[in-house]
């Protein structure tokens, strides 16, 4: 019965949302891997990208997108230099609360620079054609969904290649496994961290681009709720490994897409309760993560 109601468009939209959340999960998971830091301010990187797109919407599309990437990567590197570096080795609570403060700071700055003069809200007008549907297998699918899926798959493949085939990728994986031993064996900490931070910035800019196509109205709390949901997904999936974190991000995005599409609005009032009860149950049964099997799942990391 449920499957019958699941039409093709809901299904594809859910996959699209899952793809975007998977990219965010990778961005959060990469930094966590090398720094053991949960970056709550990740959503504000996306927000900054969205604002950049909004303010440069009168420029040629390529220039606007390039500026977005430049601003987000620069902000990501600044965050590492000013915030993450002094906090290296501090307790997780201190690092997490500091990123709250940074998120709060960036959000209040956005509140100040957010001047509604008519230019905002018309983000990437050149890309709005992506919201038009195309017919696939007799169902309507928005082009942006296909683009999001393609970009996500492409980005994940490139990332997997980078991590598997390049020296810096090998160093990053080693650092994520055991930072101290990796350093003893000659891995340069700052380079590995900068690599992870730049990659996560690039991913944030990509997400900003895709999100503004579907949600052109940029606000200071842009992507905030999504970040919280992705963080939940990442921990539920298993934050200790990149691919389990990614899978967790995808799963929670796909699940919210399907549930939102299936239930009528008047039935969804207790949906958050149901979802978060499920989250608690999964965490109780598998504290190391839903997809974490073997060695990682066994030991409790205190």
């Amino acid at each position: 019965m449920i499957l019958a109601a699941l039409d093709f468009q809901t299904f594809s939209d859910a996959i699209g949302l899952g793809a975007i959340y998977a990219l965010m999960a990778v961005g959060i998971g990469l930094v966590f891997g090398v720094l053991r830091l949960v970056n709550f301010a990740y959503g504000q990187l996306i927000m900054a990208g969205a604002y950049t797109l909004a303010y440069t919407s009168s420029w040629p599309t390529w220039a606007s997108i390039a500026t977005c990437f430049a601003v987000v990567v620069a902000l990501s590197l600044t965050m590492d230099l000013v915030v993450f570096r002094p906090l290296r080795g501090q307790s997780p609570a201190v690092m997490l609360v500091t990123t709250f403060a940074i998120a709060f700071l960036l959000q209040s700055i956005a509140l100040i620079v957010d001047i509604r003069d008519g230019t905002l809200g018309q983000v990437t007008a050149a890309l709005t054609f992506l919201n038009e549907p195309v017919k696939i297998f007799g169902g309507d699918v928005r082009k942006i969904t296909l683009v999001a899926i393609a970009i996500a798959v492409g980005a994940l493949l490139v990332l997997a290649l980078l991590l598997a085939k390049t020296t810096i990728g090998l160093h990053t994986r080693a650092a994520a496994q055991d930072f101290r031993t990796a350093r003893l064996l000659g891995v340069r900490a700052n380079r590995v961290i900068a690599f992870a931070v730049v990659l996560s910035g690039l991913l944030a800019a990509t997400v900003a681009l895709m999100m503004t196509v579907t949600l052109p109205l940029v606000t200071p709390d842009f992507a905030l709720r999504d970040t919280i949901v992705v963080l939940v997904g990442v921990v539920v999936g298993g934050i200790d490994r990149l691919w389990t974190a990614t899978l967790g991000g995808f799963t929670i995005g796909f699940a919210s897409g399907v549930i939102n599409g299936l239930l009528p609005t008047d039935k969804t009032v207790y949906l958050p309760s149901a979802v978060f009860t499920l989250v608690i149950i999964v965490l109780l049964l598998r504290p190391a993560g839903l997809f974490a099997w073997g060695r990682h799942a066994a030991g409790e990391r205190v």
């Binding site: 906090l87 403060a101 709060f104 209040s108 509140l111 978060f276 608690i280 965490l283 504290p287 990391r301």
Partner: protein, 338 residues
Amino acid sequence: MTRWLDPLVQLGGPVLLVVAVGLVSTTVSAANEVYFLNALVSVAIVVAIYVFVGNSGVLSFGQIAFVAVGAFAAGVMTVPLESKKGVLTTLFPLLRDHSIGNVPSLLLAAGLGGLFAFVVGLPLMRLSGLAAGIATFAVLEITHNVLQQWTKIGPGATTLSLVPESTGPLQGTLGAIVVIAVAFGYQRSRLGRKLRATREDPQVASGVGIGVHLQRLWAFTLSGALAGFAGALLVHQLGSITTEQVYLELTFLTLAMLVIGGLTSLWGAVVGALAVSGLDSFLSQSEQGVHVLGFKLDLPSGAHLAVLAAIMALVLILRPSGITGGRELRLPRAWRRS
């Protein structure tokens, strides 16, 4: 001599600070009094969080859920009967047809907060690290969702108003002192010391026969009761409340207060709460323009949040262990030797 002097200073310092804030609040204008009452209620909430997070070292985003339960229980039960029948018509008859006084509402809030925390903690205290953080966050989300939708137990998504504003300087000060005293008594008790041992090293602690999960559960329950009590203080200070006021923003702000003050000490919790709420009040005043040392400080509107966040981040970066370094208050060495 220090055997009795040290604990006296550790309890006396925070209490004196709170009394001082309470006394100053009686001398200022009614418009400014609200800032001091805010600070006192913040102290109660932050110390309640500290009882669990500070003593156990396990991060929890769920304590504001207990504040919310306490606030709405105390609020709904103290709305005067004659107005209650008009505005809160959808409540269960038992809740609709009865009202209680101020002090019973504080006790009710503490009881419900503690009970809720115990029930939630029973399964959740097996978790640690990020899993514990996310699971307690889930508790906050569920509580917020239910309070916002279930109109048989509260006002739902609308504002709960007409709550008696009984948290003045006296109740604010006394309330904060009660929370501080309970937290102090707990951390010096046998149970508190066991829990602090698990914070330093869970493996060794369980090796010497301390039940890690059980100790965390006691602290979680006590913290929940104090948080419920603090929620009742909050609703009686505000007079009206919505579910949004006891949700994400308050969670982040109170956790930031605790970490900025110093996560692992009672003194840190009190200092952090007072420092951050003092700074917040000062900065929001600055948007109207205030005179400091002969200069007129005038912030553009909206800037006070940015400045507050920047200062909080700066303190954490420069002094990650907090203003107090996570230590209890001690007299200077020269005094203690005498």
